[in-house]
Structure formats: C-alpha cells, structure tokens
C-alpha cells in the first residue's frame, strides 16, 4: 500500500513538473499570465507530493516495512528509531528524494518571495527550477525508485552502514544538500537573465542572499563532513582529498569567487559575463558532485552505487552545461564590460585576482580528480592522485588567497593612492612581520607554518585596523564605545558580516596549519599494564572488555591517560563487529582540547585481552577548525540581516 502510494506520488509529481516547466517557459515567452499561474500551482503541487513521498518513506522506515527494498537495505530490526528516520538519506534513492524535496522547497520560497518583485525573471526562474525537478523526479521514477518493492519480503533488513550511525551523518547530508540545491536558485536567475536579455545587476541583487546562504550551508556541510571523518573514520584526519570530497569542494571554491565578484558588479557594473559564467560553473559543479557520488566513475570511499543512474546524471550534466554555455554565447555582446579603472592597484584588481586564484584552484582540484581516469584512457596505466598531490599544489594558492583576504577589504576602489596604502597597511604588515619573527624565534622551522600564521596575523590586523578606525570615527561623533562598536556591526552588516566570516576562515586556517604541521602519532603493541608515550602524554593499556550492544558486538579497551603524572582521563577505543559487515569497524575514542586532541584507535588485539595494538595521536589545534565554523555561522547571520536603510 505505502509503496504504491509513494510511487504514485512521484509519478504525478513528475508529470506536474514537466507540465509546469513547459507552461512557465511558454508563459514567459508569450506573457500569458494564466499559463504562469498554472505553472505556479504545478510547482506547489510538486512540493506537496514530494513532501508526501518523503513522509511515506519515513513511515515505511518507522514501521519496519521491509517490503520496500530501500528500507530493507538500510535498516534492520535493531536499528534505533532516530537512525531509521535519518536512514532516509543514507543511500542513493533516499538521498535523491531529499535533494528533490529541497529544490521544491526553494521553488516554493521563490514563489512566495519573488513572484511580485522579480516579474521579468519569474517565469524563467520557475521554468528552470521545475526543469531541475523534472530531472530528479525522472531519476526517482526510472533508474532509482525509492519505493521499489522487494519480493519475497525478508524477515529482517540488512541494516544501516555502521559508519553512518553517528550524529555527523544525521546533519552532514542535510547541510550539504541545502548548499548544493541552494545554488540552483542563482543559476535559475542567471538563466532567466540570459533568456530575457536583462543581464544587468538586477538578477544579482535578487540572488545575493540566496548565494550567501547556499554558500554557508555548503561550508557547513564540508565542515561537518570533516568533523564526521575526524571522529568516526578512525584515521584522525578531517580531509582526504577523496574524489567526492573534492566534488563538494569545487562548487565551494567557485561559490566563494562568486560572492566576491558580484560585489564588483554591484559597485562598478563590471564582470557581468564572468559572474554569469561563475554561476553556471558553480551549479554545474554541484551536478558533477552528485554525478561522481552516484556513478562510480571515479573510485571513492563515498560512492553510493553504480547502475544506470550515472548515465542519467551525465546526460543531464551535459545538457545543463551545453545549454547554459550556448545561452551565454548567444548573449555575449550584451555582457560587455563598461567599467574602467585608474590603477592596477585597486580593490577591483584584488577581487579579480581572488577570482583567478580560486578558479585556478578549482581547475587544479578538478584535473587532479579526473586525471586517473584520463591516464587510464590515454595510456592504459592506472595511477592515483591523492592527498600529497593536492596538498602540494594547492597550498601556495590558498596562502596567496589568505594574503589577499587582508588586502581586498581595505584597499581603495578604482585607484589606491600611496596614502591609502600607507594608512591601511603599514601597521598590519609590521605586525605580520613581527609575528613571523616571533614564531620563528619560538622554534617553528616549517616555512609553511610560519608563512601561514604570519599571514593570518596580518589579515587579523587589517580587520582590527579597519574596525578600530571606524569605531574611533564614531567616537569622535560623540557616541559611546560599546554602542559605536555595535552600531557599526548593525549599520554596515554586510561589511562586518564579511569580516566576521573572514575571521572564521582565519581561525580555520590556523587550525589546519597547526594540525598539519605539529600533529604526531605513534603505533605500539602493548601488554596489559604497559604504556606508550607521546608528546608528554602516557597511554597505559588496562585491558579489554566485550559485550553485546544492540545491533553489534563490542570489544572495548581501556587506556589510562596521564600527563606528567597527573591522571588526565580514561579513553576507551573499541572495535565493533556488525553481522552485516565483513570487517570490524573501529570505534575511536578521543578527548578534544583547545590545543591538543588526544585520539586513540584500537587495532589488533589478543582474544584473552592480554595484548592490544593501538595507534595514539596527539593532534594540534584541530578544535580551531570547528570553532572557526561557529564564527563563520555568526558572520553569515550578520551578513544576511535585512538592511536597515535600504530597500531589499
């Protein structure tokens, strides 16, 4: 019953989406309001039906309906109820439902927000959104139906992948998908701009908040993914340059470029062509990301599944890219740049350089990700391109971007005079150099670490200089200190929101630098009572304990951790044996700190508990990455606050 209802909902939604896309496009072309209205209703219907489908699937999960293949593959009778709900997006078919539902939700928001204030674009935006929905609904109907039946109905399901039984896995896909799907909206507006020929600033102004919110959710998704990798996967790292990770990182890079270059278009009416190109690139990269995850074209630890889904995604990706680039070429002349500059040293050129570096980084990551495939296609030799490569080639680019982050916000538009440079940069440069000297004097010999930290101090100093100067100006007007400081944030929330976001990135940069440069690890086989030393900590193996725990068998070890004699704590890394998995899953135990994280992974052990192999890590400054994420959140909230004085 449930599967039939769900399947029916999906098919009806598909038909509505097809109709709606066509009606909106024709309505846009001919100006007939009736068509547009009915397309609008179709979109609302799609949202309602997708919501129903999602709820039906969740219901099937909650009632252990193993006649639904998706439910049987991803849960079993022992799966806790909260994981049964989140198993909705645990594998391919359900993740598509979530994705489509989010696009439909965004479409609904567009209908509510923009049907009056964006009349000229509205039909085309609707058409594009419904077109994207059509594609996803088609995939949900043909190659990957979520409500596919399983006969005979098994008595018990297979169970959720144990690695997914974690809070990170509950939130990571949601945040990530909100980001991915969020970029559909600026893309739809860009296509609408191209279709109508109104390629000025209007579409950018309308999508400014969409872009930053989508960018934020993508950042959040990446950070939560890093957190999940760190505390679940057992290798003590947060980013492995896995192809699917790269696929999520690339739209983030181009999205960041977009956030900056739209400011140039808003202020100076330049880079119109570039901005549309960037939006198309960002959206295409999000599609590429889902393609990589679902097609198995490039080997990855993330890959959901194979099958014909990949073919569908590749075809859609090709269609989107070719069609949008064709539209871009068609409107090429209208997108000519009007602006002019007086000097190469100016904010425009700093932002442009920022874009160049970000897109170059995107290209590097893309090429490195597909190179194994290219090498096999051309030479027949299989090669791997992994973390060492990406770290090596990207670090200079990111360091340069870090430096630019300090230059961009303070340098003058059009032409930066010597006076302007002196006022804004002398102190930060001095402080940065002093910081470099101090870091070096403290014993840091890694060039990259010194450069990275000194640049971070430089950028922080530029933010400080700006804030102090602006506050002093308000103080001179007679305001008191705290209202002046707060008032600045509120009245110029875009600028200071941006600064806070930059601060978040800086904190993350420090975290990455510290963890890469100074983390240490050691592996040792210990008898009961023996200890291994690392970085001033002593980890003593106390013993093993085994027990049944819900849907798995748990072997837990106990380690007493002391720091120079004082007992710090006990850590219990474990191994979990799931009946549906071939090898045991390592359960990491860790202790987070502001400076030091203690991280233990249990390896081999003797059955009688007399001996165990353990890998201990002392990771430095990793918590700064998560803290930076919180700061990023605050900055984004500040940046998207409604403008007090201006009209939206």
């Amino acid at each position: 019953m449930i599967p039939e209802l769900g399947y029916g909902a999906v098919i009806v939604a598909l038909l509505l989406a097809v109709y709606g896309a066509g009606a909106a496009a024709v309505g846009g072309r001919t100006g007939r309001r009736a068509l547009l209205e009915s397309a609008q209703h179709a979109a609302m219907g799609v949202f309602a039906l997708l919501t129903c489908a999602m709820l039906l699937l969740v219901y099937a999960f909650l009632t252990f309906d193993f006649s639904v293949r998706y439910v049987a593959m991803n849960t079993n009778l022992a799966t806790p109820y909260y994981y049964r709900i989140t198993a909705l997006w645990g594998a391919l078919e359900g993740s598509l439902v979530l994705w489509a539902w989010m696009v439909a939700l965004y479409t609904l928001i567009i209908i509510v927000r923009h049907r009056h204030n964006a009349r000229e674009f509205y039909p085309w935006v609707l058409a594009v959104m419904l077109g994207v929905l059509t594609f996803f609904l088609m995939v949900m109907t043909i190659p990957a139906p979520p409500f596919e039946r399983l006969t005979p109905v098994p008595a018990n399901g297979r169970g959720l992948n144990p690695l997914l039984e974690d809070s990170g896995m509950i939130t990571h896909p949601v945040a990530l998908y909100l980001g991915f799907t969020g970029f559909t909206v600026p893309f739809a507006f860009a296509i609408a701009a191209l279709a109508t020929g109104r390629v000025g600033d209007r579409w950018i102004t309308l999508t400014r908040r969409w872009t930053i919110v989508a960018w934020y959710f993508l950042s959040l998704g990446l950070l939560i993914g890093g957190w999940w990798s760190y505390h679940v996967l057992g290798w003590g790292g947060y980013w492995a340059w896995d192809p699917v990770e790269n696929a999520a990182f690339m739209p983030w890079l181009t999205g960041t470029a977009l956030l900056h270059s739209v400011m140039i278009q808003e202020r100076r009416r330049m880079l119109k062509l570039w901005n549309i190109g960037l939006v198309i690139m960002t959206f295409s990269l999000t599609l590429f990301g889902t393609f990589l995850t679902r097609s198995g074209v490039i080997a990855s630890v993330h890959a959901f599944s194979q099958g014909s889904v990949g073919v569908f995604f590749l075809a859609f990706l090709a269609l989107v890219v070719l069609a949008s680039l064709w539209l871009l070429a068609w409107r090429w002349e209208a997108l000519g740049a009007e602006g002019e500059l007086d000097s190469v040293v100016s904010r425009e050129s700093a932002f442009l350089l920022n874009n160049v570096l970000l897109v170059a980084a995107t290209f590097t990551v893309f090429f490195g990700t597909v190179f194994p495939l290219l090498s096999e296609a051309v030479t027949g030799v299989k090669v791997s391109v992994g973390a060492p490569f990406f770290n090596q080639v990207n670090v200079p680019l990111f360091l340069s971007l870090l430096f630019l982050m300090g230059v961009g916000p303070l340098i003058a538009w059009r032409r930066a005079s010597v006076e302007n440079l002196r006022r804004n940069f002398v102190w930060p440069v001095v402080i940065g150099l002093a910081a470099a000297a101090i870091i070096f004097a403290l014993g840091v010999r890694s060039t990259l670490a010194v450069l990275s930290l000194a640049t971070t101090v430089f950028v922080t100093a530029t933010i400080g200089v700006d804030y102090v100067r602006a506050t002093r100006a308000r103080l001179r007007m007679g305001e008191r200190v705290l209202p002046a400081m707060g008032g600045l944030l509120v009245r110029h929330n875009r600028r200071y929101g941006g600064f806070v976001i930059h601060l978040g990135i800086l904190v993350i940069a420090v975290g990455i630098t510290g963890s890469q440069a100074w983390s240490v690890q050691r592996e040792a086989t210990l008898q009961r009572g023996q200890a291994v030393e690392l970085a001033g900590y002593s980890f003593q193996f106390e013993g093993l304990a085994a027990r049944e725990a819900g849907n798995h068998f748990l072997v837990e070890s106990t380690f007493k951790v002391t720091n120079g004699g004082t007992t710090a704590r006990e850590l219990r890394p474990a191994k979990k044996f799931y009946p549906q998995e071939q090898s045991p899953i390592a359960h990491v135990d860790y202790h987070l700190g502001i400076i030091n994280d203690l991280y233990l992974v249990l390896g081999d052990f003797a059955r009688d508990g007399s001996q165990a192999t353990v890998k201990v890590q002392v990771n430095r400054l990793v918590s700064w990455i998560w803290i930076g994420g919180f700061i990023l959140t605050l900055g984004t909230i500040l940046a998207i606050l409604p403008d007090r004085k201006k009209l939206t």
Binding site: A318, L325, A329, W332, V370, L373, A377
Partner: protein, 176 residues
C-alpha cells in the same frame, strides 16, 4: 573575442563529458599486476597441519597459490570447493595447490578448512608479509606459478573450474 570564437566555449566542455562517459567502462577493482612474468616471492610458513609450507619445496611443479580469508564472504566460500576438486584432480600431474589465510585468526581459519574438508596445504600469514610480497589487495586472489617459479597469471575474485583448468592446463603443456 570575435563572434565565432565564443562558440568554442560550449564546445570545450565536450571532451570532459567524453572522458566521464569512458569512466563507465572502467572497473576500478581490476588492477593489472606488475608481478606477472616475474619470479614469485619466496615464503616460509607453517601450515594448519603443523608442517612447513614453502614455495621452494615445489620447484619444478605448477603451483596454484590462493589467498583467502574466513571473513571473505561469499567469494572465498564459492571457490573453496573448486580449489579442492582441482587439487584432487591434478595433484598426481605435477600441480600443487596451496592456500594462504590472511588477516585472520587460527580458529576461524581452521573452521573454514574443516567446513570444506580442504586437503591441500593451507597456512596462516600472521603478519601479512607474504600478502604484501604478492601485491594482494583483496581476497580472494589466486596466482598461477609455473615450474620455473615465475608468476604467469593472477586471478582476482573467486576461481571457477574453467579458470582453474585453463591456466593449469596451459602451464602444464609448456612446462614439460
């Protein structure tokens, strides 16, 4: 940019899609071994029966070296009877079948051997040194070694009767 050049931009995307489409034809787990036609690495293990098990002792015979594990389900469970039958059929014709159990415990290994009543020599590789020496990246993997001690073929995945016969017959024919 002149009017015609701008159309290059959509065209430039086409090779990328061609490459991605090529990716559908690739099997990522099928990695050619560099050890084919190279001398097989020596090893000295103790079999589950308590006897020493080495490669050198069987110089002059065709050797079928199979890497397996008790947790490797279902492939190892499918090929174990095939290997046992092959062993029984060919052992008087100058062919030796040997099994190496990797990343496993002695109890689980013994249980597997008893389950399939395997009579060919099997040994546990406790440290993984032998499996690394043969470039093993998954189980099951089977190496066909000729009488001169060179690896002539590597088969990834469960061995079938057909695969077994094909390789062994070929090596026997040329071994002479």
């Amino acid at each position: 940019m002149t009017r015609r050049w701008k159309w290059l931009i959509p065209a430039a995307a086409l090779p990328v899609f061609a490459l991605l489409a090529f990716g559908f034809t690739v099997n990522h787990r099928d990695i050619p071994s560099p050890l084919v036609d190279r001398p097989a690495g020596a090893f000295a293990l103790t079999s589950y029966a308590g006897e020493p098990m080495t490669l050198a002792a069987h110089r002059g015979k065709v050797v079928v070296l199979n890497f397996w594990a008790s947790w490797c389900y279902p492939a190892c469970y499918e090929e174990a009877p095939v290997l046992e039958r092959g062993w029984r059929a060919y052992k008087d014709r100058g062919v030796v079948v040997m099994g190496i159990d990797i990343q496993d415990t002695p109890e689980a290994g013994k249980k597997f051997i008893d389950q399939f009543s395997l009579t060919f020599p099997n040994a546990l590789d406790p440290t993984g040194r032998v499996s690394v020496d043969y470039g093993v990246y998954g189980v099951p993997e089977t190496f066909f070694i000729d009488a001169k001690g060179r690896i002539r073929a590597k088969h990834v995945g469960a061995v079938t009767e057909d695969v077994f016969r094909r390789h062994v017959d070929r090596l026997l024919a040329e071994g002479g």
